[in-house]
Assembly symmetry: C2
């Protein structure tokens, strides 16, 4: 017989639920919640698009009476502050008769930050905190980055030849990567609140910067252009990497100028490297100056998080090593 | 009970033997030979350094009387021409009483090319040809390339950052890749008859271009420099990629000028791409102009043959797609 699932197993599944809300839950964190009773899942929930209802409210509504005496796994400490947009989740958990709450990580929002845990404990609920904390923060990285640093979580996408070129010397770049890699790039667009390009890329590629995947056309993100000037209709001008506002997750699509500006400002959290098995030679490099003064300083900053083949192209996903 | 090994199994093992002689058998092909009798290996051989004795001679000497009635697996058609350096292998196989010979591929050398097969047949030996032919040619690729085109088999090594730079703008390149990747590069040196660098790399890195692996110091290859001028002591000047003579396997180590010259001449058969998880930005690109006129022409030329992690670096091995 298989061993029964552990708290860590349930929490891992809860964090996977949290990821489902990742691109749509803003301005609220993308939380997952799983209600478990007698070794079985009673109900599941994750933060709905726009941030409400919260994950706990979704799961408790689905569980109904079955929540009584059950354990609730949540990827983030339940909120303890009243809001005109809905009830606070600690009150909902208490009212539903939940016996035990397992929390991955505390909510850094000063209106909750420990207050949710305290209120649950005062109501006689058993509370455990800190299970798979790093995994939960990674799953919520866009929101977490914004919460902690008031800036968006930034993904930089580069599509290059094996020798690191993003175009031929004359600017031709159609196509370097193949269909599957480009479709994956569209999926990444759909997962971000906004995309950003430099002025040159806007002039060259503007018509193509939408989401072209069946069923995901309505997920096309906001469009930002990095420029000291004005932006065309449908676009928002951003003067510098530090000036992106009201966005949790940003995909920087190019070109080399925009990419380098974000890297020089250390505003890139995740790197998508699509690489085609071709050599260009003497083409346009992926990056310009990013302010590196010493080769030793370049090391220890990026960790390979994922790698896969997309047709004959390779995608490597790197994450910026930070303490969050 | 396991199924007994098939002819293809024995041949695969024979081709693996052939690879052992790959860097040292010049000017002769690196052949493997396995003598099998009653389902057991009686003896094995591969071409010795310098090209003699041949693989068949080595294996037959080890087999002695046990060769009588046995099957010989050979990766290349046994030679049929007399040489002052040794007996011809078809005569040796006949004299030893071999009953059956299985051959992966015919010898394109016009002195043999089918004559070995004919002589074996005339002596009453059962002969089969063409088993794992492509594998055998790949295992002998350096020799095969030279035999067919009278040029060396060329491997190009590039060690770059994720953005395709081989150095910072000021020329600093120590270190981009880590210890394990550099050790692997030394192993590749030991597997080639010669290495080649451009003039600039010679001036900057000459003292480091040896094999620094315990036990392999004596495998340091010949040293070539791509220059229209003269070469320093211990080095041989080569005026162009087409002018490399007397070498079966060549490792082009850098810099961008030498790499680009060999690629522009379509003389690169294998690409070693060591890539460190760092970004440099605005550094020295791996390649200059390689004569690419249209992006579409860049596709379909390289096939990923191997990929591995070496510490935090990645090695991708690409092979030029050719019909050999």
């Amino acid at each position: 017989m298989q061993r029964p699932p552990s708290d860590a197993d349930w929490m891992a599944a809860t964090i996977a639920l949290a990821r489902r809300g990742r691109s749509a839950s803003a301005p609220n964190p993308n939380v997952g919640c799983m209600i478990v009773k007698d070794g079985r899942v009673v109900a599941r929930g994750w933060t709905r698009p726009g941030g409400r209802p919260h994950a706990e409210a979704v799961a408790l509504a689905a569980a109904g009476d079955a929540a009584r005496g059950a354990t609730a796994y949540v990827s983030l400490e339940p909120c303890a502050h009243a809001s005109p947009r809905g009830p606070c989740c600690t009150d909902l958990l208490v009212a539903a008769g939940i016996a035990r709450v397992v929390i991955a990580t505390r909510d850094p929002d000063p209106r909750t930050d420990g207050a949710g845990i305290a209120r649950l404990g005062a109501a006689g609920i058993e509370v455990e905190t800190g299970l798979l904390e790093a995994d939960a923060r990674t799953a919520m990285a866009p929101w977490w980055t914004r919460q902690g640093e008031w800036r968006p979580f930034v993904t930089l996408k580069l599509a290059t030849s094996l020798d690191g070129c993003i175009a031929m010397a004359d600017g031709s770049s159609r196509w370097i990567t193949g269909e599957r890699a480009r479709a994956h790039g569209h999926l990444e667009r759909a997962g971000h609140q906004a995309i950003l390009v430099g002025r040159g890329t806007l002039a060259a590629d503007a018509p193509t910067l939408d989401v072209r995947l069946p069923g995901l056309e309505d997920r096309s993100p906001k469009r930002l252009v990095l420029t000291s000037g004005s932006a065309p209709v449908g676009w928002t001008a951003v003067a510098s990497p530090a000036a992106v506002e009201g966005v949790d997750s940003l995909l920087v699509e190019g070109g080399a100028g925009a990419a380098s500006a974000f890297l020089a400002a250390d505003r890139v959290d995740r790197l998508l490297l699509y690489r085609a098995p071709i050599l260009i030679g003497g083409g346009k490099p992926a990056l310009g100056d990013i302010g590196l003064a010493d080769l030793a300083d370049a090391h220890g900053r990026w960790r390979l998080a994922d790698t896969r083949l997309l047709g004959s192209d390779r995608l490597d996903v790197y994450e910026r090593i930070r303490i969050i």
